[in-house]
């Protein structure tokens, strides 16, 4: 794998050197390519991204050779502690004083939206990996934002349509009662109905409720086939646990709308078997991903999640852009990123649209039963591949000002 990457890198480098530089190519600013990475390293989102995300980015820098055109690549990283003002002031400081060339945003939508605004003001690229808010490419889009790994619309649409096609026609939603949960529920419900399914009802549970038993009883009374979990993180884990306890999983199938492999690891297969979920990437999906995940596991001690893979892939993509254009000038690299495809272990045929959305295929997964699984992290079987242009917000629906209609 390393040879492939090396060859690919050399080839691209060769292309970069031989290509006639565009009139505005300015070379590498400050003689160094600085990457800034701000994510949650110690709080509720630290497992799915966190410090392991830093390792993933380091791997991308290593694979790019540690330098481009003789200029070193440096990485700065910080913990935003899920506070938007910490993220935003760090981002400002880095752009103003450390001359950071690109900002990578980790988990938490509020911080990513704040960082995107800063990047837009400073006219530097911002690549959001961990946040799910589709606003990043709609009402709050900017020419400098790239939303890379996934968003909540894709997850909702993917799970909704694919599960209905797989036979799960009647749904009941357990929704976390705040904007994010409502959005997940609404997007999935619309797709379910469009595909000919039926929504029997929903119950809104307060965010962070630890006991879901009452809500689950109401779900069971609805006699729907599928229980849609429009929540995330601890809420998802608690609702799955309770669903098992009350025997709900014997009459209904669970469909998690935002689930990461770390959640499955913490719940265990007996509790999650046969659950549906949509993911943008799985470590076992092809040879390239397996090979990369092995290297990741050797450094970090566990298999990567979609976000950590996204960290790697987006930085590698950015660095390719720098190599190809010969500069780290924001506009030049943004232009390159929006006109070239991503073909690596993360996505095949992925591309960045004018609204900043990186469109790539998503996958409907079903969690294996304990018998089917051969060991830790062997959790998913791919039920369906969901083509990117079908599950992401279509340009015609976009509320982004950059999209010409």
């Amino acid at each position: 794998m390393k040879l492939h990457t090396l060859t690919a890198t050399l080839a691209l480098a060769g292309l970069g050197l031989t290509a006639v530089p565009a009139a505005q190519a300015q070379g590498i600013s400050n003689d160094v390519i600085r990457i800034g990475f701000i994510t949650d390293m110690s709080g509720v989102y630290s497992d799915i991204d966190g410090k392991a995300g830093v390792e993933a980015i380091r791997m991308a820098i290593e694979d790019a050779g540690g330098a481009i055109n003789g200029k070193k690549i440096e990485l700065l990283y910080a913990d935003h502690q899920n506070k938007a003002d910490v993220a935003s002031s760090r981002a400002r400081e880095w752009f103003d004083q450390q001359h950071v060339d690109v900002l990578i945003g980790g988990t938490n939508s509020a911080t990513s939206l704040a960082m995107a605004a800063v990047a837009a003001e400073k006219k530097k690229p911002f690549i959001a990996i961990g946040a799910g808010a589709s606003d990043l490419t709609n009402s709050q889009c900017s020419p400098y934002t790239v939303h890379y790994a996934y968003d909540t619309v894709a997850l909702a649409r993917g799970t909704g349509s694919a599960v209905v096609k797989d036979g799960g026609k009647s749904w009941f939603f357990l929704t976390a009662d705040y904007a994010f949960g409502h959005a997940l529920e609404r997007d999935t419900a619309n797709v379910v109905k469009a595909e000919g399914g039926d929504v029997k009802g929903q119950v809104r549970a307060p965010l962070g409720a630890s006991d879901f038993s009452s809500f689950l009883l109401q779900a069971q009374a609805s006699k729907a086939q599928i229980l849609g979990l429009a929540n995330a993180g601890g809420d998802t884990i608690n609702s799955v646990k309770a669903a098992n306890e009350f025997g709900i999983t014997q009459t209904m199938k669970l469909a998690g709308l935002l689930v990461f492999i770390n959640d499955i690891d913490s719940l265990g297969l007996p509790a999650t078997q046969n659950m549906y979920l949509t993911d943008g990437w799985y470590w076992d999906q092809n040879d390239a991903s397996r090979a990369w995940s092995k290297k990741f596991e050797a450094k970090v001690g566990r298999k990567p999640s979609m976000l950590q893979a996204g960290d790697y892939s987006s930085v590698a993509f950015y660095l390719n852009g720098v190599k190809a254009t010969g500069t780290d000038d924001a506009d030049a690299v943004m232009k390159w990123m929006k006109s070239n495809k991503i073909n690596d272990m993360f996505a095949q045929g992925g591309y960045v649209r004018e609204d900043g959305r990186m469109v790539h295929d998503m996958y409907l997964m079903q969690v294996k039963t304990p018998k089917e699984s051969k060991g830790r992290w062997d959790y998913y079987k791919v039920v369906a591949t969901l083509p990117g242009d079908q599950v992401y917000t279509k340009l015609s629906e976009s509320t982004c000002k950059l999209v010409k209609k």
Binding site: S42, G43, V44, Y45, S46, D47, D177, V203, R204, A205, P206, L207, G208, A209, S210, D211, S213, S214, F215, L217, Q218, A221, G234, I237, N238, K241, A242, E245, F246, G247, N262, D263, D265, S266, L267, G268, P270, A271
Partner: protein
């Protein structure tokens, strides 16, 4: 037969579930009341110690291969011991000062404990299976009740009423209550009051840890499991007033049931209903439902 559009059977089911949650509230507010009664300290760390109980139980299962029943006894003892160490080393020196320092210390301890566990174990939580004996559910006719939940109610009621009995009806309890009223006098009688205080704190902490072990199979065993719960328990304690042990137990159970009902009729409000009730009680009966003005 429908009550406000909800079938009677479903209602009974939700009431029972409310009772289950209420037993957690009862145990936790009981621990807080016991500690406050004797030490005049609000143990903010109660939530973190509840979490520690669950974690120690998990550690026993995962590292030492012990089973749930052993951990049900062992975990509270271990965490209780930890509580005794805290009292001895830290809290003891704050009694002569303003009460708010005790609150601030336990707040700092909460952050420290949660931060350490988060640092070592991450936040996704640890898998914890229900013990074999208690797995499965029985069909009560109006709902399917997991056996484990029934066990939670039984265990907490035994522990709560056991504690009440010891404190209100035994000589030891009488000594404790006397020390709450007038420690100097009790000490003059030759009773080792500082040791009593130390053991009381340990006991209160052990109660929290016991609740944690009970919670482990049904909730996510994560370092954050106690932090939002403790604030609700505080509200419960304000509503009940800290004058009586029975008051703390009954208030906990009662609020659990009310919360359960809210989840049926108005689910979105179920996390704030306890606070609203607290506001109402403060307006009408500031000392709390069972409180005695000190």
């Amino acid at each position: 037969m429908n009550v406000f559009g909800i079938p009677m059977q479903a209602l009974f089911g939700q009431l029972l579930l409310g009772l289950v949650n209420g037993s957690f509230y009862a145990m936790l507010s009981l621990g807080l009341a016991v500690i406050f009664g004797l030490l005049n300290v609000i143990n903010f760390a109660h939530g973190a110690l509840y979490m520690m109980g669950a974690f120690v139980a998990w550690m026993g299962l995962a590292y030492l291969g012990l089973n749930y029943w052993v951990m049900l006894i062992l975990a509270p003892l271990v965490v209780g011991l930890f509580g005794i160490v805290i009292e001895r080393l830290l809290l003891r020196h704050l009694y002569r000062l303003d009460h708010l320092y005790g609150l601030l210390l336990t707040f700092g301890l909460t952050l420290l404990i949660e931060g350490l566990f988060r640092s070592f174990y991450g936040v996704s939580g640890q898998p914890f299976q229900t013990p074999d004996l208690l797995r499965g559910a029985t069909n009560l006719g109006f709902m399917i009740l997991p056996i484990y939940r029934a066990w939670v109610v039984v265990a907490s009621l035994i522990v709560c009423f056991g504690t009440w009995f010891v404190i209100e009806r035994t000589p030891l309890g009488a000594l404790l209550r006397a020390a709450t009223e007038n420690p100097r006098l009790v000490e003059a009688f030759g009773v080792n009051v500082p040791r009593m205080i130390m053991l009381t704190y340990g006991f209160g902490v052990a109660l929290a840890a016991f609740a944690g072990v009970l919670a482990a199979p049904v909730l996510q065993v994560s370092p954050l499991m106690g932090s939002n719960l403790i604030i609700v328990v505080f509200a419960v304690v304000v509503i009940g007033g800290m004058g009586s042990i029975m008051g703390a137990i009954l208030t906990g159970l009662g609020l659990g049931v009310i919360e359960g009902l809210t989840k049926v009729f108005w689910p979105e409000a179920s996390n704030t209903v306890v606070f609203v009730i607290m506001a109402i009680v403060l307006l009408l009966r500031p000392a709390g439902l069972f409180g005695k003005e000190k």
